[in-house]
């Protein structure tokens, strides 16, 4: 029985193959249909959302001159409380300033979606395309070269030589991170503070580097011994030409908040009581860890004012080390809409308020007046270029 049965089985499975393939394709078709209908695959969902936005703003009846501003997000997503969200906020600000300006975005769920998302927007005749993040530099450059009349602005990258149709927005965040590091060192009771990054790339490490420099400067000026964990600047590097090389703690991920949580726990286990995550949405994992660790553990938020973008954790934030993405993106979009757009590079600094420490919110009364005064003087010194921002200029504790 068994032989005949096996034979029959084999025959049937061969005959069944066509049915199976048909069924499988049916499934895919059905799923794709569902995608079009409701939400669906990452890529299509973003498109559906974007359309929704566009029609919504068209319906609002302000469409006098048509100008469409488009944002391609990095993998952190539009709701990352950090640079993707800030750039989108910039579009909203521009839309308020300019009647008839509508905006939309596409979310990149993986790095492989950068180029297709940019191309989708080129096809949709966007007046300006904002690409968010250092990681998108290559995709943006390729698209900008292929479409010289398409205007772009990219957050966190500057091209050299500058391109005519791309505005690179870079922020000298080691300036305000220096202040943040000084403040963290001043607030630490354990004598250890810690930072970690989302990825070992310049727009992340520039924060960590400035922050560590601030801690070391605090030690030098106040004869203290606060140790900064999580980032060690390389001994031999060309700081003057913008190298922020070094070794440190990275999640290597801008979406996995669990990694942010455990990395913060690692830093606290090694004694740190002030944590500075430079990892966008992954920092929320760190906030969860700091909250769980309880009294005496604080943090500083990054990119945006944490008390505005993640208010549930406001009581943990001593301050936020921010960069003016909202203002610079909205300026770029408005310039493009008014026809005054120029490619090149924008540099955000403490002097032009392109980077800054946020208000202290719940810590306004907990930070000693002496420290606040010191921060003020320090800010003026940094603007006047009288303080070295290179951590290697100071001895490490």
């Amino acid at each position: 029985m068994s032989t005949s049965d096996h034979g029959a089985h084999r025959k049937r499975s061969r005959a069944g193959l066509t049915t199976r393939v048909a069924a499988a394709s049916a499934v895919v078709v059905a799923a794709t249909a569902a995608v079009g209908f409701g939400a669906g695959s990452s890529f299509a969902s973003a498109k559906a959302t974007a359309h929704h936005r566009a029609t919504a703003s068209a319906r609002s009846g302000r469409a006098k001159s048509h100008f469409l501003a488009c944002e391609v997000t990095d993998t952190g997503g539009i709701n990352d409380r950090s640079f993707n969200a800030s750039a989108y906020q910039g579009l909203k600000v521009a839309a308020k300033a300019i009647p008839g300006l509508s905006y939309k975005y596409l979310q990149s769920n993986s790095t492989s979606e950068y180029a297709p998302n940019i191309n989708t927007f080129i096809g949709e005749k966007c007046g300006i395309i904002i690409t968010v993040g250092f990681d998108m530099a290559q995709a943006t450059q390729t698209a900008a070269k292929a479409h010289p009349s398409q205007k772009f602005a990219i957050v966190d990258y500057s091209y050299s030589p500058a391109m005519k149709n791309v505005l690179g927005l870079v922020y000298h965040t080691n300036q305000d991170a220096f202040l943040g590091g000084y403040l963290a060192a001043a607030m630490s009771k354990s004598g250890k503070v810690g930072t970690f990054g989302g990825q070992d790339i310049p727009p992340v490490t520039i924060y960590m580097d400035g922050w560590v420099a601030g801690v070391r400067y605090y030690d030098k000026v106040n004869h203290a011994h606060v140790v900064a964990l999580g980032w060690t600047p390389a001994k031999k590097r060309n700081f003057a030409s913008g190298s922020f090389a070094g070794n440190g703690l990275f999640t290597n991920d801008f979406t996995n908040q669990a990694l942010g949580k455990t990395d913060a726990q690692t830093l606290m286990a090694e004694g740190a009581d002030v944590i500075f995550p430079v990892a966008g949405a992954v920092g929320l994992g760190a906030a969860a860890a700091v909250k769980q660790a309880g009294a005496g553990h604080y943090m500083e938020w990054v990119d945006t004012d944490g008390c505005v973008s993640a208010p549930q954790y406001c009581s943990l934030f001593i301050t936020s080390v921010t960069k003016g993405i909202v203002a610079s993106v909205s300026t770029a979009v408005e310039a493009a809409a008014r026809g005054t757009f120029h490619g090149g590079n924008y540099n955000g600094t403490l002097a032009n308020n392109g980077v800054s420490l946020s208000p202290f919110h719940t810590f306004a009364h907990k930070i000693p007046a002496k420290v606040k005064a010191a921060l003020k003087t320090l800010k003026a010194k940094i603007i006047a270029n009288k303080v070295s921002l290179d951590p290697n200029s100071y001895p490490a504790s």
Partner: protein, 429 residues
């Protein structure tokens, strides 16, 4: 027509349950340990000035007053190298393979000890928290791989674990936040996972669709759906719909007071205890009960199972839905067990890592646990090494978890065999 004789089926192993370790592999392990011993002696022993000390901190936050372990890096390394070499010799002289894995593991632990002492020279390493971190990383992976085991042992491939994670994380956060009851959140996560399990089962079993394709489609669907709903539903109403509390660590009386082991194992999140209980349950159910035998029979040879009166499709339906439920609970651990908020794509591909853990673990619960813990340990280790600044460049450190996993899998696990009917649609006629 002869009647099918049941007895041999009862006695026969349906899957490669015993580890058939060849003596050649044992020799290989011996040589490897010998290399570790020499490395320990040279790099960690005499590569360090004799005065250097390392401290291992052993107390967690609820200080249990285990005094820190201070040791001289060089002499600890020398002692451990000798131990490692002895174990290597033991392996090389063995005539039977039985117990070799235990000896090998012991040798690796000695090596790791020496390595950590070297890494922490002149500083303090919080060993206890490093172990806690290992388990935190491993927990969702255990849920995911148990889900995979439930499905695949019955002959259905579940690539959709990642999607079920996302669905469970999303609904767990939303219901846990809206109702204010975390247990309802867990239930919601289980339901969400179970629903997508049911969808997989329906398409794969009713229509015989290709299970890999269906699984991939479900992941894509869940990713898109949760992204969409997060933006449209959760974000506008963040404070009520996406701000659940999280389960706080629950100390088990007495057990949590055991030095070192207590805080690591018995002062943890309910999701960790849940994973441990499920692990034992799935293991016992699969390998010690009549039910488990039937499931494995269906996964190995459904036609034979059918002929003895087992209803193949209902076994598969039940298992795939149960698998979905388990993955959904694991998904809920991402939000209400950890972060306290859902964000798009937060499971970050761990569903696939769980799938890999299941395969490395040879479709067995404790094997999968081993793989998950190994991966978790490597991640945790990487994080501590970065903070201790041992001088290894960050990109190499980031690679470490994957390199270690690949090395262990290729070196120790060897060839694995899935259940014979895994992924093959079944029809009665």
């Amino acid at each position: 027509m002869s009647t099918v004789d049941l007895t041999p089926v009862e006695g026969v192993e349906l899957a490669p349950e015993g580890r058939l370790v060849s003596l050649g592999r044992v020799r290989g392990m011996g040589v490897f340990l010998a290399v570790l011993a020499v490395t320990t002696l040279v790099a960690f022993g005499f590569g360090v000035p004799s005065g250097e000390h390392a401290i291992f901190l052993l107390s967690g936050p609820p200080a249990l007053n285990v005094s820190p372990l201070t040791m001289s890096v060089r002499w600890v390394a020398v002692a451990l190298a000798i131990g490692c070499a002895a174990l290597a010799a033991l392996l090389l002289l063995r005539r039977s393979a039985r117990g070799s894995y235990l000896i090998f593991s012991l040798g690796v632990v000695l090596f790791l000890w020496a390595f950590l002492a070297w890494a922490a020279r002149g500083a303090a390493l919080n060993l206890l928290q490093m172990l806690v971190g290992t388990l935190v990383y491993a927990t969702p992976l255990v849920y995911g791989s148990l889900s995979g085991i439930m499905c695949e042992r019955s002959g259905v491939v579940n690539i959709a674990i990642e999607g079920q994670f996302l669905a469970g994380a999303f609904l767990g956060a939303m219901i846990g936040s809206a109702s204010g009851n975390l247990w309802l959140g867990v239930l919601a996560g289980a339901v969400a996972g179970g629903l997508f399990g049911a969808l997989l089962a329906f398409l794969a079993l009713r229509y015989g669709a290709d299970q890999i394709i269906v699984g991939v489609v479900i992941v894509a669907f869940c990713t898109g759906l949760t992204n969409f709903l997060t933006e449209q539903v959760l974000t506008p109403d963040q404070s009520t719909l996406n701000s659940p509390q999280t389960f706080s660590p629950l100390a088990i009386p007495l057990l949590s007071k055991i030095p070192i082991l207590g805080p690591v194992l018995f002062d943890q999140n309910v999701f960790l205890y849940g994973a441990a209980i499920l692990l034992v349950m799935v293991h016992v159910a699969l390998f010690k009960t009549r039910w488990g035998l039937r499931v494995r029979a269906v996964g190995e040879h459904p036609r034979a199972a059918e002929t003895v009166g087992i209803h193949v499709l209902s076994v598969r339906y039940r298992n795939v839905i149960l698998g979905g439920v388990i993955a959904g609970i694991g998904g809920a651990s991402f939000t209400i067990g950890s972060i306290g908020e859902f964000s798009a794509g937060m499971t970050a591909g761990l569903g696939y890592v769980a799938l890999a853990a299941m395969i490395f673990g040879r479709w067995r619960p404790f094997g999968a646990l081993g793989a998950a813990v190994l991966f978790g340990f490597a991640l945790s280790l990487q994080s501590y090494l970065a903070v201790l600044n041992v001088g290894i460049p960050s990109p190499f450190l980031s690679m470490a978890p994957y390199v270690i996993t690949i090395a262990v899998v290729s070196g120790l696990v060897g060839r694995v065999r899935p259940p014979a009917a895994d992924g093959v649609p079944y029809s009665r006629d």
